[in-house]
């Protein structure tokens, strides 16, 4: 774009060219598209290729094995559990996020004292780098020094000697992972919801008042429908953040206890990178993509449709 201000004799011609819709569009879009093609498209194709080979230990190539890796992965119970967990983590954490963020955002629209401080506290999890805040959670859920258990022990809610192991019991550990995901995404969803609420024209509010719609009723019939498109956006991002994330599981549980909290991303890492079966790891991680694409396209369509009506 910097070259735009070109001078001299060619200026006129260039100017005409720049006035051409098609040329300008291409010129403006091309850098971004090229960049993405090179840095995402290329590696993605390579990953697809690897998933069809028996590549090992960081060698970017191997013998062609067709869909063996995909079949092998499918036959592995740990893989299937990882697939199920990916869906579970995503759906449950996002349900929690939507509910909590909806409530918080709604409450935040009212002009109350100390709002700034409350908003600051609520935003904190979003500001902390995820790998580091997850370490914080690791300490909170520690097997011996868990503050949660300490409180529960003082209140005599749990066994003094053998308190619940937040990261050691499959069900609790699933809950722990979900809690961290929800915790880190709620602030983000709150912000998006606030944007959604801010966008509701005040006429609508007034009209609702005239019609006598208050409280829950108003929420259900007026606010919620108007919020749907933006809720879809928040949800879409939440889904992507959760489903493609490996950091939380990798740091919090390493997939444990006994590989019951593996997600596709982490399982791909443990088989492909740590274990050295690169081809199979690539296959595992690719299982997720078509699913996400379908979900994303549907949600984007839905968001647009709701807007129109």
């Amino acid at each position: 774009m910097a070259t735009v201000a070109a001078s001299g004799r060619t200026r006129r011609r260039r100017r005409n060219l720049l006035e051409s819709r098609r040329f300008l569009a291409t010129a403006l879009i091309a850098p971004a598209v090229l960049f993405i093609l090179v840095l995402v498209g290329g590696p993605l194709l390579l990953a697809m290729y690897l998933s069809l080979t028996d590549a090992v230990g960081g060698t970017l190539g191997g013998e062609w094995v067709g869909f063996d890796n995909f079949l092998n992965a499918w036959r592995d119970p740990n893989f299937r559990r990882a697939l199920r967990n990916t869906l579970l983590f995503t759906i449950v954490s996002q349900a929690i996020v939507l509910l909590c963020a909806g409530l918080i955002a709604h409450a935040l629209t009212r002009p109350i004292r100390g709002k700034w401080l409350l908003r600051f506290l609520i935003i904190l999890p979003w500001a902390a780098p995820v790998p580091l805040s997850t370490i914080g959670w690791l300490w909170i859920y520690d097997s011996l020094f868990s503050v949660v258990n300490w409180v529960a022990k003082q209140l005599h809610l749990v066994d003094q000697f053998n308190p619940p192991q937040w990261l050691g019991d499959p069900t609790l550990a699933l809950g722990a992972v979900i809690s961290v995901h929800a915790w880190r995404i709620i602030p983000f969803a709150v912000v998006i919801f606030l944007a959604g609420l801010a966008s509701i024209p005040s006429e609508v509010e007034d009209a609702a008042k005239v019609d006598g719609a208050v409280g829950l009723k108003k929420f259900w019939y007026v606010t919620l429908p108007l919020q749907l498109p933006i809720a879809t956006v928040a949800l879409l991002f939440g889904i992507v953040f959760t489903a493609t994330d490996m950091t939380v599981v990798y740091i919090l549980t390493q997939g444990g206890p006994f590989n019951s909290t593996q997600m596709l991303t982490s399982w791909a890492f443990f088989t492909g990178i740590r274990g050295g079966s690169l081809g199979e790891g690539a296959a595992v991680s690719l299982y997720l993509l078509p699913l996400l694409v379908v979900v994303a396209v549907l949600m984007l369509r839905f968001a647009r449709k709701v807007e129109v009506t």
Binding site: L124, S133, I186, I273
Partner: protein
């Protein structure tokens, strides 16, 4: 009018949520002042200090014995550079997709967004090849250089930002641009003088969002950077405050707390403008 009952409801909702969401940070603060003996004493009440706590030695350890400040600085540098690249690539593309191209613009926008869905778990291997064979840089291209991250991070910030800004540009009334064009301004001039200034909130949104994505990265920084003076905060803290099977918990907590608070303050400060940006962008 807001009734006092409504206000009370707000407090009743916000209070507990704020407590729960901020609790880990409170806990980090507490932990960061503890001595070893205090930390590993199960009989000790964790909400009080003992055994020589509180101590600031964990902080002095962080600042004096590690390159913590360098990691913070590196993160900031990478963040700013990535944001700049993101803007340079995404703003024109988004504008063109929203205004200059017809139906296929929308599809292409979605297409670009979809690349954001690719999980980074394995992408870092091929990308490692790309950065190590980058024509500029040291003995191994951009490996172990901050620039490797500057190059790679836009691969996920650009798709998101383009898509977001696209929505944003659509909300700008066409009449504004047309009026300027009637006055004889070129398309580009219109872009710079009319469109961009009104889009500032949207651009701000993209800035904040891209920056937070950069700070959150883990896998790429882990795979690309090993020299201590080029590490970013996430990996620096992670790779140097965990030694074998010893976790320096207190320093880890301090290291998390320190950048989070100013960032949260900053985000909170810009939140209203951010909201305006998102309102414009995401769903119109």
């Amino acid at each position: 009018m807001i009734t006092s009952r409504e206000k009370l409801t707000s407090y009743l909702i916000l209070g507990p949520f704020a407590l729960v969401l901020a609790f880990p940070f409170y806990w980090m603060l507490w932990t960061s002042f503890k001595t070893e003996l205090d930390l590993y004493d199960i009989n000790n009440v964790p909400f009080f200090f003992g055994h020589g706590s509180p101590t600031t030695k964990n902080y002095s350890f962080l600042f004096n014995e590690t390159e913590y400040l360098t990691w913070v600085k590196n993160t900031a540098i990478v963040g700013v550079a990535v944001v700049a690249i993101t803007l340079v690539l995404a703003v024109p593309a988004a504008y063109a997709l929203a205004r200059l191209s017809g139906r296929w613009g929308q599809s292409m926008g979605v297409g670009i967004f979809l690349t954001y869905l690719v999980p980074p778990t394995l992408l870092f291997l091929p990308l490692s090849y790309v950065i190590s064979h980058f024509p500029v840089g040291g003995h191994a291209g951009l490996q172990d250089s901050l620039w490797s991250l500057v190059l790679v991070f836009p691969s996920f910030t650009v798709p998101f930002s383009t898509w977001l800004l696209m929505g944003f540009f659509k909300t700008i009334p066409r009449e504004l641009e047309e009026a300027a064009r009637v006055d004889g301004a070129s398309r580009l001039r219109t872009l710079f003088q009319i469109v961009f200034p009104i889009s500032l909130p949207g651009i701000l949104t993209v800035i904040i969002f891209s920056f937070s994505l950069v700070v959150n990265d883990f896998v790429y920084a882990l795979a690309f950077i090993t020299t201590s003076d080029s590490k970013t905060i996430s990996t620096g803290v992670f790779t140097e405050l965990i030694r074998g099977d010893i976790f320096f918990w207190q320093a880890l907590m301090a290291a998390t707390l320190l950048p989070s608070i100013p960032l949260a303050l900053l985000y909170n400060m810009f939140l209203d403008r951010f909201i305006a940006g998102f309102t414009g962008g995401a769903f119109r």
